[in-house]
Symmetry: C2
């Protein structure tokens, strides 16, 4: 069943694109039952009471809170130069169950292109659509940090990993290092890798080097593979 | 170091796009050393002897065969309706280390759009680029089967798994079922799922149901997640 989004769970109507999709695409009728989430874990079942082109109202029949898992996956990644690869990362990590996506402008990130390749409103829409499509009820938080220090300053998790290319020894794969049922913070190196200063800084801040496998992954593939590894580590 | 492609390892020159990239983009000079693969595991080091706009010749200094791992990952997936999602699957599975990608036109696949969404030549180029970029030397084989029976008829691996949506019991996750160091064949359900007849047929042919996790994945995400799970199972 299709899931609709209404950010404010105290409201009992769909607006804008959600209302249009309900009325025009799915051609809902009065009395039809729909599922609605606020992206904060609330899942409601509503019965449609009124259908307009800009607003579809419903009576809430049932409302409950879907709990978050006892782990949290927080990904931190530097934006690629291509908008569609950043968007793809957000879509795929959301489908796989990420909880937070943090874009970091690292020293080797192309600063001048950030505005063009990272559109937070668009990324939010993509995450929303992926959340609904994958039948989840928690929308990942998406944010941008203008350097590594600002990102690290707000990290709370004590489980911290960093994947970068230039490591001399091959570290142990992420899936073997992640501890279960813990919040985990995973930092992925950009195209062109982190600078030596950034790597030293992250390691001093408790980020442990990890491998993501034997093949060299593009930054967006590395982010998705790392996110997936952290999800899989929970069931091993 | 950039890796060039020359399909025929007995030739000692780059052609077409590879020659152009070497001469014009990387501005190679006579005497420069380059690495060349045939996508069949051969990795050569050559010294450039002649640079033309359509052909760059080299003397082979060293040639060796990079072995395939002792496992093989063979993915079978139904094409999505969007060409870019099929292309994305090929790129990402190649980066992660897939050995064979088989597209199947299932009962619920939109037959009329196949020609538009699956361009084998283009998919081959994408796989080639992903292979080089991820520093691998074996090009995955890509093929199309016009129904499930034709695909199954040529499967050799005895390790066979199927991921589909409609299963009643939740099966065990793929990563826990895959045996190490074996060829494995993984069949992914299409948008709209396999038909009951297809599921029964595949199961009768030895395909065991697997889960790919708690969230509902799009078909292309499922394929990449399954491929990644099979790779990770090798190191657990």
């Amino acid at each position: 069943m299709y899931i609709f989004y209404q950010e404010d769970s105290s409201r009992n109507f769909l607006e804008n694109e959600e209302a249009r999709h309900c009325a025009k695409v799915l051609r809902a009728r009065i009395g039809d039952k729909i599922r609605i989430t606020d992206g904060q874990g609330t899942l409601s079942v509503g019965s449609i009471t009124e259908i307009g082109s800009k607003r579809v109202s419903y009576q809430v029949l049932d409302m409950h809170q879907v709990p978050l898992p006892d782990y949290r996956i927080h990904m931190a990644v530097c934006p690629t130069r291509k908008a569609e690869r950043n968007e793809w990362m957000v879509e795929k990590m959301t489908e796989l169950g990420v909880h937070k996506i943090q874009f970091i402008v690292s020293e080797h990130t192309h600063r001048e292109t950030i505005g063009r390749v990272l559109n937070l409103e668009r990324l939010h829409r993509i995450a929303l659509s992926a959340m609904k499509q994958s039948q989840q009820y928690h929308l990942p938080e998406i944010s941008i940090y203008s350097n590594l220090e600002m990102y690290v300053a707000q990290v709370e998790a004590s489980e911290r990993y960093i994947a970068y290319v230039a490591s001399e020894d091959i570290p142990v794969h992420l899936i073997k290092q992640v501890r279960r049922q813990q919040p985990v913070e995973i930092l992925i190196g950009p195209e062109g890798d982190f600078s030596t200063g950034e790597i030293e800084f992250a390691m001093a801040e408790g980020f442990k080097p990890v491998s993501l496998g034997n093949t060299r992954l593009r930054t967006e593939t590395a982010a998705v593979a790392a996110c997936h590894s952290a999800v899989l580590a929970q069931i091993l």
